[in-house]
């Protein structure tokens, strides 16, 4: 694994964003809109008699953490799409760049995007609604790691679909993560879900993270088994999605589809 080649892929994205106001805006726009929307909803609910602190904490904390998962996933799959749209994939894949280096570079790009979105959201949440996401303490780091891992797993599945089905599958880069939103218990406890969906939630790592977040905010402590389950599930999904991507990549080389992607 060569760091210089990884740096080259990241540099290409940095150049792309430096020259594109709309792309930069996209990193900040939705997190800001979402945060303001949910922030004002919590204020409205508080006026209606509900106690503000738990609502504000649950909604804003949930929203900030959900955006971490979303940005991690899009950081991987949309960056891959950027190379397809620019018809740059062939030039990259005929260079000495290894597929492992490319994937590591995409993960680094996603971390940069996560950091920006997280920074903006936590700053606005603190400034406008007095919510301090850092009061989650050390647990925040573990929550972020788990959500990033789940985001990368979804991102790899999206990339596999694009390699297999072609550019028609690019909609998944925006849509697939949202499939997990209802069963992740981002804004409500999993126990409110109907039985079937509750069973589904048990195999979604993010559901344990959001349960954990609420527990920390309410009780200032965390049942470690929640994080344990999230870690194990993420390990399974991340390995599975990596194997899937590498298999599809190999099949794409056999079928000769890589030079045709983006045509």
């Amino acid at each position: 694994m060569n760091p210089r080649r990884i740096y080259a892929v990241i540099l290409r994205q940095v150049f792309l964003y430096r020259r594109s106001f709309t792309r930069v805006l996209d990193v900040f726009y939705w997190p800001t809109v979402d945060l303001l929307l949910w922030g004002f909803i919590t204020i409205y609910l508080a006026r209606g008699g509900a106690s503000l602190p738990p609502y504000a904490s649950f909604f804003l904390g949930g929203l900030i953490l959900w955006n971490i998962l979303l940005r991690a996933q899009q950081g991987v799959s949309v960056s891959f799409l950027e190379d397809i749209w620019a018809r740059n994939l062939i030039n990259l894949f005929v260079s000495p760049l290894k597929i492992s280096e490319y994937l590591v570079a995409l993960v680094c790009i996603s971390l940069i995007k996560v950091a920006f979105a997280f920074g903006v959201m936590s700053f606005l949440a603190s400034l406008c609604f007095g919510f301090q996401v850092f009061k989650l303490g050390f647990w925040l780091l573990l929550f972020v790691l788990n959500l990033c891992a789940m985001g990368w797993a979804i991102g790899l599945v999206t990339m596999s679909a694009i390699l297999w089905f072609g550019q028609e599958a690019e909609i998944l880069a925006w849509a697939l993560a949202f499939l997990f939103l209802p069963v992740s218990g981002v804004f409500y406890p999993v126990e409110v879900l109907p039985e079937g969906l509750r069973q589904v939630a048990t195999i979604v790592p993010a559901s344990y993270v959001f349960e954990g977040m609420r527990e920390v905010l309410l009780a200032k402590s965390l049942n470690l088994s929640l994080l344990q389950k999230a870690f194990l599930l993420n390990l399974f999904y991340l390995s599975g999605s990596l194997v899937l991507f590498l298999t599809v990549y190999r099949k794409a080389l056999e079928k000769g589809t890589i030079p045709k992607i983006g045509e």
Partner: protein, 239 residues
């Protein structure tokens, strides 16, 4: 001359269709090998196999004595590619595009090499402009500049002069010949331009329906097929 690339019994099957069948040839150091063939002859599939973009069904490819794609990354550090059909990202400036690839090929002095190539291809004045402002001819020159960044021992070119002004096409051909003669770079070039292949190639490989129809120097081919020119040979072979 030293063998730098050896292709042995290379075949590629897509479904029931053989895009390449039993293709064998060698490329020598400093040699320019022209590949001729009608549309669908297998030229692009051959180039894609040589670049590792497509895995062969059968046969083997050895670059510098190393099996490919087993030593893919090591081999591709000494190989490069340019095609009239594969551009560089349009949103980046010319300098930025070349800088990204300079890092991918781990150049020691990227800025110096980039300046040298931009000047060589007459793009220095445009270095700060976005790539989307280039004409198709200028884009091809930028792709050639990218292809020469790592001073490759083997250069694979797919229709490199298509769409270029005659004067620039002539300059490009001169450049390729000087690369071959002075820097000992081996070049594989596909083109529909028969006179171009005739002018610059040391040897010519003729593909038809994925198979090698003829391979040799221009003189050898003309003699064995009793043809007056490559164009004449092209029609005699019913390509």
């Amino acid at each position: 001359m030293d063998t730098i690339l050896e292709v042995k019994n290379l075949s590629k099957k897509f479904g029931a269709f053989w895009a390449l069948k039993d293709v064998s040839f060698t490329l020598y150091e400093g040699e320019i090998l022209g590949i001729l063939g009608p549309n669908g002859a297998g030229k692009t599939t051959l180039i894609n196999c040589l670049l590792g973009l497509v895995l062969p069904t059968e046969g083997r490819i050895n670059y510098f004595g190393l099996p490919f794609p087993k030593y893919r990354s090591k081999v591709l550090e000494k190989v490069n590619f340019a095609s009239n059909y594969v551009g560089l990202p349009l949103s980046l400036t010319l300098e930025e595009n070349l800088l990204v690839y300079a890092h991918l090929y781990r150049l020691k002095n990227p800025k110096e090499k980039i300046s040298e190539l931009l000047k060589l291809f007459g793009l220095w004045e445009k270095r700060k402009l976005r790539t989307r402002t280039l004409s198709s001819g200028q884009m091809m020159r930028l792709c050639l500049a990218k292809a020469l960044l790592n001073e490759p021992r083997i250069l694979l070119l797919d229709e490199p002069t298509a769409g270029l002004d005659p004067e620039i096409a002539r300059d490009t051909r001169s450049l390729l010949q000087s690369l071959s003669h002075e820097k000992n770079t081996s070049i594989i070039i596909t083109s529909h331009n028969l006179s171009e292949i005739e002018r610059i190639s040391d040897r010519v490989l003729v593909l038809q329906k994925g198979q090698v129809k003829a391979l040799g120097t221009k003189e050898e081919l003309l003699k064995s097929f009793e043809a007056k020119s490559l164009e004449d040979l092209y029609f005699r072979l019913n390509l």
